[in-house]
Symmetry: C2
Subunit: 220 residues, 2 copies
Amino acid sequence: MNAQHAFSDAERDTIYQLIALRRDTRHFQPGATVDEAAMQRMLRAAHQAPSVGLMEPWLFIRLRDPALREQVLPLVAAERDATAQALGERAAEFLRLKVEGLRECAEVLAVVLAPDDGTVFGRRSMPREMAICSAACAVQNLWLAARAENLGLGWVSMFDPAALGALLRLPPGAMPLGLLCLGPVAQFYASPMLEQQGWRKAHLTDHPDAPLCRDNHWQD
Amino acid sequence: MNAQHAFSDAERDTIYQLIALRRDTRHFQPGATVDEAAMQRMLRAAHQAPSVGLMEPWLFIRLRDPALREQVLPLVAAERDATAQALGERAAEFLRLKVEGLRECAEVLAVVLAPDDGTVFGRRSMPREMAICSAACAVQNLWLAARAENLGLGWVSMFDPAALGALLRLPPGAMPLGLLCLGPVAQFYASPMLEQQGWRKAHLTDHPDAPLCRDNHWQD
């Protein structure tokens, strides 16, 4: 691969199209599978993410065992109930939303923040934040790779991290950041599902009049 | 844009090429500029990132004022010194590394974690982690967009967030996560710069024999 490759306008447009079409997915084709070569390509892309000081503080765990996938469900259900309670007057509306596709998706990957390896470079003043940022970049690579493979991916963060960590036998200091539902879909959402279901409007994304940045200071 | 677009194998390969070629960049062409239309496309791509509960907890600040860009330099220099001290026996080796391109790059963007808006959906149990993950995904989109525009981007996290927050007049609860150096480069790194300079080897990225994931549990 040529590191100096100049992307053409057409290639650039493909990349912007990909970024625009990536969606947080909760509807999958039950019984479908992910091609193993595609899985390896997507995971490789995840590991090509940037990381602070090259610490690569992420680990992916593939939930292959159907019994283990079953054991995840009550953890997510419990957090969904706790979320409904915390939401108060929007609880009933919330409980009508589909918040995950764990049963139907072809594959479930847990993304785990690894125990701190003591890296100082680039994170002396923000150690935890920077490690989390690196792990999130790996997920975003995987997410974009999934859409490039014409697959859906949904990031489920509705769980108690300690309980999920125990289930996945994580070592002390590791923390699960997400359960990634991955697989073929019947169709891709044209806009964020939470918008389609009337839960919330994104105020920045895909709104041509929203300011894209501020100049010099938060407020002038 | 057709939400159901099926990416071709050639398009998919372009995307994987992009992900593989993105680098954390510290060498820029002094005096160069970024095309304004490209800047708007890149920022739009950043805002198309996923976010927990659609909270979009990021804000980008473009440091247009040359005086303000000058004021950032001593903050980064101070943190570089503190890092060297914290590194102990590798201090001298560290101080020989180029850790940022703030003077030479065409544009500097600060990425800021916005004050918590109270979003509960998807983050009741991990509120701060999930907001940070969302902001990091926005940066990763911007980073990939920059490489697609044949520009370099470097994420500088070597600063005291409180001091930088004061300089950028951030409101209470907001936190700068990075200074993003952006602009044309003479050439792109063929491998991570910290590897090229002998600081550290990435143990996962681009190493064909590294395990890409574990099955079912951290350790079986």
